[in-house]
């Protein structure tokens, strides 16, 4: 049945998007920086994994190495770029533009090194099909759902149960107080971006595993994820994840009633309306 199949595809895309939204939300809620370069890290994760797999390294190892590399890059951007700008008391606009610059640099290094062609992971198992009821999906799609849900639960546990998680939430809610009480916000920022970059590497690998690698494929998911984050309420991890799935499902199901080329336009249109009438989001964090 068409609707069920579209629903399934929407769930898969939504889960991957959810992890992007959660990770971006972590950064934004804590540092208040609109870290668009996040899209670059997402893209880079996929390419790194691809290179490792192409040179013979088994997939799980490649994933671990890529995740580590992304975390390192994220930490680098924070400590070398954002922290410096913070020291010069740069305005949000300046940091945003710098982040845009970083994004352009990452994407174009990838384009120069890997060429702009669509690349594929050479893994046979990834496209093997499975029937779930009347719906057909491939292994990668199933894996995406599973890993995304694990990432969501993991992040929730981390934020609420671990010491670092609580420290992050403390800094997020009141940076000035955090500074005074020696919670060392700047160090926390580095941890946060590192963790977020590690997280976003996962969909960065899973989505291209299914659909192929392209250098400039990070911007649209990031924007959609940001919409989910804001509509879900900044600071709410659950809000970001749920709204991501919701948006993806709506986008896919909308194909039943309208031509495909309009579905992304509709998403942004709804968002703009949201901004005009309910800017604080649905699941506003306490």
């Amino acid at each position: 049945m068409l609707a069920l199949q579209l629903l399934a595809t929407g769930l898969v895309t939504g889960c991957a998007l959810g992890v992007v939204a959660i990770s971006f939300s972590l950064v934004y809620a804590t540092t208040k920086i609109f870290h668009v370069a996040h899209a670059g890290i997402y893209t880079l994760g996929g390419y790194l994994a691809w290179s490792l797999v192409m040179s013979g390294i088994p997939m799980p190892v490649a994933v671990v190495i890529s995740v580590g590399a992304c975390a390192a890059l994220g930490a680098l951007i924070q400590s070398q770029l954002y922290a410096r700008l913070e020291r010069r008391r740069a305005t949000h606009l300046v940091v945003l533009i710098a982040s845009l610059g970083a994004l352009a640099v990452i994407q174009n290094i990838i384009a120069a090194v890997y060429t702009p062609n669509i690349l594929q992971f050479p893994l046979q198992w990834s496209s093997r099909m499975v029937s779930v009821g009347v719906v057909r999906m491939n292994y990668t799609q199933l894996l995406t759902i599973v890993i995304s849900l694990i990432a969501y639960v993991g992040t929730m546990l981390f934020a609420h149960r671990t010491i670092l998680g609580k420290r992050i939430r403390a800094v997020a809610s009141n940076p000035m107080l955090a500074d005074i009480t020696r919670l060392q916000p700047q160090t926390v920022y580095v941890y946060v971006i590192a963790i977020a970059s590690a997280l976003v590497c996962l969909p960065g690998i899973l989505v291209p595993l299914d659909l192929g690698l392209q250098p400039y494929n990070g911007v649209t998911p990031l924007l959609t994820a940001t919409i989910a984050m804001i509509a879900g309420g900044v600071g709410s991890i659950t809000g970001a994840f749920v709204l991501s799935v919701g948006i993806a499902v709506v986008q896919n199901l909308s194909l039943l009633v309208m031509p495909g080329e309009w579905s992304i336009g509709v998403t942004f249109f709804i968002f703009v309306i949201f901004m005009l009438f309910r800017p604080t989001g649905l699941f506003t964090a306490r």
Partner: protein, 288 residues
């Protein structure tokens, strides 16, 4: 000679866009990556009216386009006045992507992805403007008017009000000034500049398609303002001329053609980072 003149024409069109972006982003502080969308609307409107079954001549079409873009820009920046800066960023991205979707898919109105070919060359109240040098004169005239306007506004009380809003919005509001009206007026003016630039662009190229008005174009505009210098007239002029020359300068350096465009975008990105780190005021601007 045509090559030099066509470079000047395009640079001047981007100067008008630079003034527009500078007004919004530099002076009022509204982060906008959707100026290319307004640019596009201006272009499509002029194309539509000069090619209609009952065509209007160039200047009336431009006026209509400018007015529509004024209204459009007010509409587009309204959300920014209700939400804080960062939320508006996403809205602005969204508006740009929405505009690109409309340009590409509304085939009846915009020709869709095929674009609109055959836009007639402009005429100045009957005097036809056909060759590139003549066109360069037309654009120079427009730019001079624009710059003059910008300069006078910045000198006037309105300009001082805008700068004050940038420094401390709450203080200005407390002093009883209508902040909302000032911001909206600035946005309106920015719209007029962008719409005019769009009309000139359409008539010059005689062919427009959505690829000239996408997110990349908006980012290029932002880069021009940042590098040239925010909030100043000189910055709005230097930025476009420099950045349009950059691809041509790059062809002098021996980069393998397979990576040349990626290299160019890379350089844009590096420029943004370097300037933000070491010279946020750009070459000839004030601190952003």
């Amino acid at each position: 000679m045509d090559f030099l003149f066509s470079y000047i024409v395009l640079a001047e069109i981007y100067v008008l866009l630079g003034l527009s972006t500078n007004l919004l982003v530099g002076i009022v502080g509204i982060f906008s990556v959707s100026q290319a969308a307004v640019f596009g609307v201006g272009a499509y409107l002029v194309a539509h009216f000069t090619m209609a079954t009952d065509p209007l001549s160039f200047i009336p079409s431009m006026v209509i386009a400018a007015v529509c873009c004024v209204a459009l820009n007010i509409l587009v920046t309204l959300p920014s006045l209700r939400v804080s800066g960062d939320y508006f960023v996403v809205t602005s991205f969204g508006i740009q992507l929405l505009a690109t979707a409309v340009f590409t898919n509304w085939t009846a109105g915009t020709g869709g992805a095929n674009g609109l070919p055959g836009i007639p060359p402009p005429d100045l109240f009957g005097l036809p403007i056909e060759t590139t040098p003549q066109y360069a004169w037309l654009c120079t005239g427009a730019v001079v008017l624009g710059c003059l306007g910008f300069f006078l506004i910045m000198r006037a009380p309105f300009g001082r009000l805008l700068r004050a809003i940038r420094e401390d919005e709450t203080a200005v509001a407390a002093a009883g000034k209508n902040v909302l009206r000032a911001k909206v007026s600035a946005a309106a003016l920015a719209g007029a500049f962008a719409g005019t630039a769009g009309g000139l662009y359409a008539a010059f190229l005689s062919f427009i398609d959505p690829s000239s008005f996408d997110l990349d174009a908006s980012i290029l505009l932002l880069t021009m303002v940042v590098v040239g210098g925010a909030r100043t007239l000189a910055g709005s002029i230097i930025g476009p001329f420099l950045l349009l020359a950059l691809p041509q300068l790059l062809t002098l350096v021996d980069i393998p053609t397979t990576i040349a465009a990626a290299a160019r975008q890379l350089i844009y990105g590096l420029l943004l980072i370097m300037f933000m780190l070491f010279r946020p005021q750009g070459l000839a601007g004030e601190r952003l």
